[in-house]
Amino acid sequence: LDGNNEVPTGFIHRRLRTHEKREMQKEILSILGLPHRPRPHLSHGKYNSAPLFMLDLYNTMSSEDKSQSESMSNGYQTMRTTQSPHLATYQETAFLNDADMVMSFVNLVEYDRELSLQRRHHKEFKFNPSQIPKSEAVTAAGFRLYKECVSHIFRNDTFLIKVYQVVKEYPDREADLFLLESRRLRAAEEGWLEFDITSTCNLWVMNPVHNLGLQVSVETNSGQSISFKEVGLVGRDGALEKQPFMVAFFKVSEVHIRTTR
């Protein structure tokens, strides 16, 4: 381990026993602020959209750290130059600079119910940010959807996409919705769409009982409801690297104190 291939004086150099290795792992986990090693349930060998997006953020952060330490020694200011297909906006990289933690959330809606009671096309999305410690404040949150180019529709056609926060649900009638954003899309448009859901995410973190998810619907110019697939929006049945997800940026407001062991 020593750069000069010498074992320094007083340094114990030997292979660790199994229980020592376990103790070592426990200590490293404690440094990372984790009570035990996570056991994610990854059904696919390949990373889907959220890990890919997060990996881009990681690479941006790492290259920035590297160039910053280089510029510190050179005495020059550095500029961010990372260009990535997953990393969407300049705004996101600005949030990243300010964040202590970034987290992506998988969509928890198992079965798509595409038609409402009134035969209106819509998609439901649910994320669970309730396990975030109270010391972490949400500085920004976004809902990300991928749109593919649709060639079977006239290329200059436009659609209106509406993202709602579900406020109240009823068994026998339509849910109460709060419109978060509406945006006009071109049929030929392709790429990630990002919707700001910062205030909604804050509400979900503070009061998880209010977390009834999001609803997204699309209308034609004439106001007719149209399905996700027809306009090229990718849902959970689409390609892995284009799956919708939520991302939130956090700032730590308290000093992390390690628990006594």
Binding site: I31, P38, M54, Y58, S62, D65
Partner: protein, 139 residues
Amino acid sequence: STGGKRHQHNRNRATQPQEGSRGPGPADYNSSDKKTACRRHELYVSFREMGWQDWIIAPEGYAAYYCDGECYFPLNTYMNATNHAIVQTLVHLMNPENAPKPCCAPTKLHAISVLYFDNNSNVILKKYKNMVVQACGCH
């Protein structure tokens, strides 16, 4: 100040650092001491070797480094040392039984970012401060 006779006694010893002290004085410092002098050593923490590839996405590990070595007098000839470390060394020379030498410890630390899955397959990117030793010195 420790006052009285003891103070006088210590001051006498301070003028003759070699006497009764375990560490070498300025005249004793030579190239062979460089090997044991306080400096940064390489230490790589491998997440891969811990078998954590299934939940840590990046990095595979990181160069944490560590500080090790002796703090010899005069400290400021070859490394970073706090002003008080020099005082601590003098006190140690005067009273080696009771006062320890300054510690060889990190003077500059950097952060790393870790990207990992949680139990729910959500992905977390977290910045951890003070994880990588940039420089060592005497405290």
